[in-house]
């Protein structure tokens, strides 16, 4: 006979304002098997938990139902309290009286009645609960970091410095990400390369970090502590061990007019190339789409000039398998491209460029060696216009959010322009100036007050060419929406930061969720910003939302601490909510008939074939068996099973049918 204790919480007035808690406790107290029933103001408080603990001890309770808030909130709290009083934690269930009842219905009898029903179904369920024990799984103490921008670099270094192994993969030929493209950084105006490249070198030299550049994640299986990753190392057409990085091949390659990705199309590169001089690793790759040999079948100049004979034209992609315990995703972001701004003439007028292109113009390592010259004719622009919110905060463009970094980098761009082009005039069209951050507002004020950048509050409707000038036509909303036209030599668009093209595909490979903008979703917007909904997978940097450098670095360090915390344990404890196949005495062994429909249903390949053999080694029965390490407890197999031989602990057939039968029965 069950002895169940029911504990009805008032949650201050959150529940008791609309539900008659005393009546719930009294009614439920009369049910069969309920040995104790009480209501109290705050069940989750210390005295509330003590009430549960002492009732378990004094009344010898065999099951507990706490009727309070959502189990998604406090189930761990109450299960822990039960465990402390000596009751198996899985004998505790929660009825959700707050989120599903008191907060969504008005005060009245119907609401109290619903509360009673909700408690009753769990009282009935708990009668069929079984004591369960946590499952222990080992942890592979190697982390996989996907994306080698500043966030990935920081996360890799932080994890590696705690003494754990890290595999860092980067899809481009070099690590560094967008930060390596930047000229100078706000709000200090220190050179981006100067602070980034030492970190890149540190990654390459760290004994705990294995770096795979020009590599992408092929597939991922497994679960927290025990992932199996397949990494595709794209062919570089190069034997990296032999290559010394002398760069002779890149100077001799005859294909010299490929737009450089690193310079955002403003510079040219060869078909065999190193993206930029400080690249890590500083070894070239052959771009097979543009290489003459791969197009026409002859050339091989690089092979001929290579002093160490390192070129391998027949090299194939290599798949590397790695066992990892945790994953940090730091794949970053991209910016909106030409066709997105027909009204601004991006793509049509060469002197309308993006913010990232301006970074390359202003960078000492850029195509103009740091001089601000317009792409069309190489002249120094005398008048330049910067457009904030090009795409951002524009629901009509499908990007209602703020890209966050643009206000700051536009102020920086305008400042850099004023420093480099004396006597030049710069204008910024903006909607609002969002300069939240340490020394950020001061930085923008400096641009306006010290460097004389003209800020115009208003949006630009159109940019067109007239007499060799770009006419920027907008309105000044601080002057009663007075139309403004500026004859500019160059226009810089602060294009919206958006999710990477392959973000959706990657999320599906990793089984993590993403928001409507395809940025990866964090587990909780405030309290779990670096976790994802999939245990063991963490986020860092702009793949989660637009982020600036300090935030990306902080997130990366946060994610690294989560990984280090995970790796500090030798074994992980997992909830025993998993599927099991029933076992019986010989000669039946199990009601499972071995149809293996469950195998086809299981998304985790957690169900294996088990063969029972007689003394002669002959197979006498073949049946399903669940691998408790792989099973995640979705229960899809349970609904599939024709003989009801597989069941899921915590949501068994008995429990679910009992719940349904208790739902509507009038007592």
């Amino acid at each position: 006979m069950s002895k169940i204790g029911v504990f009805v919480c008032h949650c201050g007035e959150n529940i008791s304002a609309t539900v008659d808690c005393a009546k719930v406790a009294e009614t439920v107290g009369n049910y069969d098997g309920v040995a104790f029933s009480v209501d109290y103001t705050y069940m989750c408080s210390d005295p509330g938990q003590n009430l549960i603990k002492s009732a378990i001890k004094e009344k010898g309770l065999t099951g507990v139902v706490v009727a309070s808030c959502s189990p998604r909130m406090h189930e761990p709290t109450f299960r822990k309290a039960c465990a402390e009083a000596g009751l198996n934690p899985f004998m505790c269930e929660m009825a959700n009286l707050r989120e599903h009842c008191s907060w969504v219905h008005d005060k009245g009898e119907a609401t109290t009645e619903k509360a009673i029903d909700l408690v009753r179904i769990l009282v009935e369920k708990v009668k069929y609960n079984h004591s369960l024990n946590d499952i222990k799984v080992p942890v592979t103490k190697t982390a996989l970091v996907i994306g080698g921008g500043i966030a990935g670099i920081q996360a890799s270094l932080d994890i590696a410095n705690t003494g754990h192994k890290v595999i860092l993969i980067e899809k481009d030929p070099s690590i560094g990400g967008h930060m390596s493209q930047l000229s100078e950084t706000f709000p200090t105006l220190d050179c981006s390369q100067c602070i980034l490249t030492p970190r890149m070198v540190e990654v390459a030299q760290h004994p705990n970090i294995t770096l795979y550049t020009y590599a992408e994640l092929e597939s991922l299986e497994g679960f927290i502590g025990n992932f199996k990753a397949k990494i595709r190392k794209k062919s570089k057409s190069l034997d990296e061990k032999l290559c010394t990085g002398c760069g002779l091949c890149t100077t001799k390659c005859p294909v010299k007019k490929i737009p450089s990705e690193f310079n955002e199309g403003l510079g040219k590169r060869t078909a065999i190339y190193v993206p930029f001089p400080q690249a890590i690793p500083n070894k070239p790759v052959i771009d097979r789409i543009n290489c003459t040999y791969y197009i026409k079948g002859k050339c091989k100049v690089c092979e001929i000039v290579c002093p160490t004979k390192a070129i391998r034209f027949d090299q194939e992609d290599e798949i590397v398998e790695a066992e990892v315990g945790a994953i940090v995703i730091s794949t970053g972001f991209t910016v909106k491209q030409p066709d997105f701004f027909p009204e601004y003439g991006y793509g049509k007028y060469p002197d309308v460029i993006t913010g990232l292109q301006f970074e390359r113009l202003a960078s000492a390592s850029g195509p103009t060696l740091g001089e601000i010259r317009r792409p069309s004719d190489g002249k120094v622009p005398e008048k330049i216009v910067f457009l904030a919110c090009a795409g951002s905060r524009d629901p009509a463009k499908g990007i209602p959010y703020c890209s966050k970094i643009c206000c700051m980098y536009i102020a920086k761009h305008a400042m850099l322009y004023q420093h480099k082009v004396h006597g030049g005039k710069s204008y910024v069209f903006y909607m609002d100036i969002r300069a939240g951050g340490k020394m950020y507002e001061e930085f923008v004020r400096r641009a306006i007050e010290d460097d004389g950048v003209n800020y115009v509050r208003g949006r630009v409707s159109r940019i067109y060419e007239k007499n060799g000038k770009l006419i920027v036509s907008g309105a000044d909303t601080l002057l009663n929406a007075m139309p403004v036209e500026i004859e500019a030599d160059m226009v810089v668009l602060a294009t919206a930061g958006v999710a990477n093209e392959g973000a959706e595909e990657l999320a599906q490979k990793l089984h993590i969720s993403y928001d409507p903008y395809k940025f990866f979703a964090e587990a909780h917007p405030k309290l779990k910003p670096v976790e994802t909904n999939t245990a063991g997978i963490f986020l860092a940097g702009a793949c989660q939302a637009p982020r600036d450098i300090p935030e990306s670095v902080a997130m990366a360090s946060g994610a690294a601490v989560k990984v280090a915390g995970l790796f500090s344990q030798d074994e992980l404890t997992r909830e025993p909510i998993i599927a099991v196949v029933n076992r019986q005495a010989a000669p039946v062994y199990s009601s499972c008939v071995g149809c293996f429909l469950c195998v086809s249903a299981c998304p985790y390949q957690a169900i294996e074939k088990e063969e029972i053999k007689n003394r002669n080694g002959e197979v006498i029965k073949s049946m399903a068996k669940v691998n408790p390490g792989l099973c995640q407890g979705c229960g899809t197999c349970v609904a599939f099973c024709r003989t009801k031989s597989i069941d899921i602990q915590g949501y068994t057939h008995e429990q679910m049918y009992t719940e349904v039968m208790a739902l509507l029965n009038e007592y």
Binding site: S70, P71, M73, N96, V104, C634, G635, Y657, V660
Partner: protein, 149 residues
């Protein structure tokens, strides 16, 4: 005469719709109190015989809801649930069970308002259909009285 109050049972998954219904609560969006929620780990776990059991026990309407396609916490449980629902629905049509009384939907953890709308819409439509007395007549088979003994 008081208005007919239908009994609605909701079978929801833990990760999306249960959390979505939690959000309805935290957003204090009011909806009809006729619904009783049963929590499952995943819609893929829902054995559709449970739906018939709910009608057996006197339910007038049923809601089944989980994560949106591609958003399943367990990758594909909701696709299995959807495929099973298609089969189950034609079986219901064949046997004469009123599929108008079963609402199949997707509610994500961020769609608190949608949950309230679905409950209200289901309650309203089932209220119009009236009590499911035809099913109850058939379901009251004689063995049932002794089966609990």
């Amino acid at each position: 005469m008081a208005e007919f109050e239908p009994k609605i049972v909701a079978f929801v998954c833990n990760w999306c719709t249960y959390a979505g219904a939690d959000l309805t609560g935290t957003s204090r969006i009011k909806y009809a109190s006729n619904v009783r929620i049963v929590r499952f780990p995943c819609t893929g776990r829902i054995d559709y015989m449970l739906l018939l059991k709910a009608f057996d026990e006197g339910a007038d309407g049923i809601i089944v809801s989980g994560c949106h396609p591609n958003d399943c916490h367990y990758t594909s449980g909701n696709f299995h649930a959807r495929r099973r629902w298609i089969m189950f629905r034609s079986l219901c049509d064949f046997t004469g069970i009123d599929t108008e009384r079963i609402k199949f939907s997707w509610v994500s953890a961020a769609e608190g308002a949608k949950w309230a709308d679905i409950v209200n819409a289901t309650v309203a439509s089932v209220r119009e259909l009236g009590p499911y007395s035809e099913y109850k007549k058939v379901a009251k088979y004689p063995e049932r009285e002794v089966s609990h003994g």
